[in-house]
């Protein structure tokens, strides 16, 4: 009798191939199509010659390509982050921002954008917002990590994260209350989240750092699987719970923080994609789900970004609205079809 479920494995392989194909298609779409019409022949020229001097070349290389990649990576990171936290808390309604990561980032960005200290004659460094969001996200992460080592149960940590989120929100709204109308405009825009305006160096950082973290996460699939049974069984099987907790939180918050720092808070992907992946690949095995979420997160975000850009072009829609709008019904229908309780 064969123990390996060959049928399941094949099915999973097929899904992987389909998703990978969609990924290529959606990246291509994002590069080919935009609010500025660029013909295929022009595109060919621009790509072959790596031409950035002309406006169209600039658009393709520095606006569309970087945005396409940013969306893919951003989505991938968020999805994996959501998966990690869902396994960690053994709670299906947890997303990457549950621990207050995006609230912390928002708070720091509001400091920078809304207080007079940074405006005025000083030329605003283009990295200020990114930097402050980074500081906010990772600062929150450090606080969470230091608490995580002292706390017994996961629920306590969850509540701490929620409270931190609320606290950050509160301070942010006070800042908004006192800010000038003009500045609020920019801030509100940031809060909506967007993959627009990514620069190549930002993408490089994302890919390199994120890549390392993803490799680490894949290497943690074995204890992650053990963790599905809960902390007590996991520790009885040999998982070093202390170390594991820290590593998982570090990875999840890092990934989420990175995306939030450069793109602002993008909702729903981290929460929904792990569920979609579980239902598609029909497994809870994290060895399959980690790459699965990676790919699915990338594809879905990429497609949503395309819609956000092109639905009412050249007017841009907020990406969080699109992700929720299309994502929620998909998850619902998948659940209804399978009659599965997660």
């Amino acid at each position: 009798m064969s123990l390996k479920n060959v049928e399941l494995k094949n099915r999973q392989l097929i899904w992987f191939s389909i998703i990978a194909a969609f990924m290529i298609i959606s990246v291509a779409l994002n590069i080919l199509i935009g609010s500025v019409p660029i013909s295929l022949s022009e595109l060919y020229q621009i790509i072959m010659k790596h031409e950035t001097a002309s406006t169209k070349g600039f658009i393709i290389w520095n606006i569309r390509m970087s945005r396409a990649l940013a969306a893919v990576f951003g989505g991938a990171f968020l999805a994996v982050s959501g998966l990690l936290l869902q396994v960690f808390f053994r709670n299906p309604i947890v997303g990457p921002f549950i621990l207050g990561i995006s609230s912390g980032a928002t708070l720091m960005v509001s400091f920078v954008m809304l207080t007079t200290a940074t405006m005025g004659f000083t030329l605003l460094s283009p990295f200020m917002t990114t930097l402050s969001a980074f500081v906010g996200a990772y600062g929150t992460m450090l606080i969470i990590l230091s608490i995580a080592t002292r706390v017994k149960s996961g629920i306590t940590l969850l509540i701490v994260g929620l409270m931190m989120g609320y606290l950050c929100h509160a301070v942010t709204s006070v800042l908004v209350a006192f800010a000038e109308k003009e500045k609020i405009k920019g801030f509100v825009l940031w809060q909506l989240g967007s993959f627009s305006g990514f620069q190549w160096n930002e993408i490089q950082v994302m890919v390199v750092v994120g890549g390392i973290i993803l490799v680490l996460v894949y290497g943690l699939s074995k204890p992650l699987n053990a963790f599905l049974l809960g902390e007590e069984y996991a520790s009885s099987m040999g998982v070093n719970i202390r170390l594991f907790r820290i590593l998982i939180l570090l990875c999840a918050c890092s990934l989420a923080g990175m995306v939030t720092a450069v793109a602002g808070p993008v909702a729903f992907i981290g929460l929904a994609v792990p569920h979609m992946a579980r239902l598609c690949f029909n497994t809870s095995n994290n060895r399959v789900l980690v790459p699965g979420c990676l790919l699915m997160g990338g594809v879905i975000t990429s497609l949503c970004d395309f819609i956000a850009r092109m639905a009412f072009t050249p007017v841009e829609l907020p990406i969080s609205a699109i992700t929720a709008f299309f994502g929620a019904p998909i998850v619902l229908s998948l659940l209804l079809k399978r009659k599965v309780s997660i």
Partner: protein, 408 residues
């Protein structure tokens, strides 16, 4: 059991939480292949003790030794290969087949990414076979019943190839079939595989029959530790659980419920093992029982004694003495009625016929299950209130009816 070192040894152990000591001054040891049951009321500290032994809690004072190694210093991987647990919490991650679930138990043995080698597969299959769950192999664990799930949890613990398994209330919520199955499986683990089992149980009677050792936990201590045959007596069990309405009989190995005796007193003439069922029924119906004359080696005596009946006894292998008969007759006068269980007549208990005769002559209603007997010959001058019944249930029904009618 002999020269070999104990698998688990506990020395002056105190367990509990930061602000609360739950158990203190525990010292015991467990040998290879022993089945140890921990008994005690809810909240006594059984779970706390198990959690400390599995290193989920740190001991407050004292030491735990696993194979002579201090638990505190033991490497986690080593511990995982030596000890596994079955806990009370319900785990059911989605999309898990039974096979995959049990395979998780191979965690301490698999490589970096957790892929299973052929050896691992063999162990997993053997574990599932041991718990008689081969028919559940590819089922989704969310579709299993409580009993099936419990077996699978044990299989998972087995897959860890432990020397000792700790189980927290393994038979809770299980129906009879699965309870028996689980206990048999655990027993075979001890006997056939030489795995030591430590389980917290509530069924005293089952524990008595299967365990090699029992530990009675109460009042922050282990009040008794040793073979169940020695430890489990009526008094100790009653003291352990603080109940009065039932009694544990170590000979019968079972628990009998004592009635409240408000329905009146009946005198049961019995013996030769004929009355056990009747006694229980009468007790259940609230009758206070006086019975005799029973020989002390008679089954009826054990049952009656457990039920708290008033017994008139005779030493085994002795003929019933006239004094005893006199005492019995006196008790008959106080009873509302007399029951004859149709016991076989022999040399040693012939005198019990006298009691029946006396009852009839006194005019006490006699309910009898005796067949082919000429009662009128026994007591020709009586007023014949005789009821013949076929079985215990009908007898008691008739009895109750009669009592109702006469009390009006």
């Amino acid at each position: 059991m002999n020269q070999s070192q104990p698998v688990l040894q506990v020395d002056k152990l105190s367990v509990g939480y930061q602000d609360k000591v739950v158990l203190q001054e525990l010292t015991f040891q467990i040998e290879k292949g022993e089945f140890v049951s921990l008994l005690g009321p809810n909240g006594a500290g059984k779970t706390t003790l198990l959690r400390t032994l599995s290193r989920h809690l740190t001991p407050l004072t004292g030491t735990v030794y696993i194979n002579q190694t201090d638990l505190k210093t033991m490497a986690q991987g080593h511990l995982a290969r030596t000890m596994s647990v079955v806990l009370t919490e319900k785990v059911s991650p989605p999309f898990f087949r039974v096979l995959d679930f049990v395979a998780l138990g191979r965690y301490p043995y698999t490589g970096f990414l957790g892929k299973l080698s052929p050896t691992d597969d063999k162990v997993v299959m053997a574990a599932i076979e041991m718990v008689h769950a081969m028919d559940l192999l590819f089922r989704d664990i969310n579709t299993l019943s409580d009993g099936e799930r419990q077996k699978i949890l044990i299989a998972r613990a087995l897959a860890q190839e432990p020397q000792i398994i700790l189980l927290d209330e393994p038979t809770m919520h299980l129906d009879l079939k699965h309870r028996m199955e689980v206990m048999t499986i655990l027993q075979s683990l001890c006997r056939d595989k030489g795995i030591s089992v430590v389980a917290s149980l509530h069924d005293v009677d089952i524990a008595a029959k299967i365990s090699d050792k029992v530990g009675l936990i109460k009042d922050a201590r282990i009040i008794a530790w040793g073979e169940p045959e020695n430890i489990l007596r009526a008094k100790t069990v009653a003291a352990l659980y603080d109940f009065e309405g039932a009694a544990f009989n170590r000979f019968l190995g079972s628990i009998e419920f004592r009635g409240n005796g408000t329905n009146g007193t009946v005198f049961v003439v019995a013996g030769m093992g004929s009355a056990a069922i009747l006694y229980r029924l009468l007790s259940k119906r609230g009758f206070s029982i006086v019975t005799g004359v029973l020989h002390k080696n008679d089954l009826d005596f054990f049952v009656a004694d457990s039920l708290g009946a008033d017994c008139l006894t005779q030493s085994p292998m002795e003929v019933i003495t006239p004094e005893t008969v006199q005492k019995a007759k006196k008790r008959i006068t106080e009873a509302a009625c007399v029951i004859d269980t149709g016991f076989t007549l022999g040399d040693l208990n012939h005198e019990n016929l006298d009691l029946l005769k006396a009852a009839m002559e006194m005019g006490k209603p006699l309910f009898s299950m005796r067949k082919d007997f000429n009662f009128s010959q026994l007591a020709p001058s009586s007023q014949d209130i005789l009821f013949s019944c076929e079985d215990e249930a009908r007898l008691v029904t008739m009895l109750e009816e009669w009592l109702r009618e006469t009390s009006r």
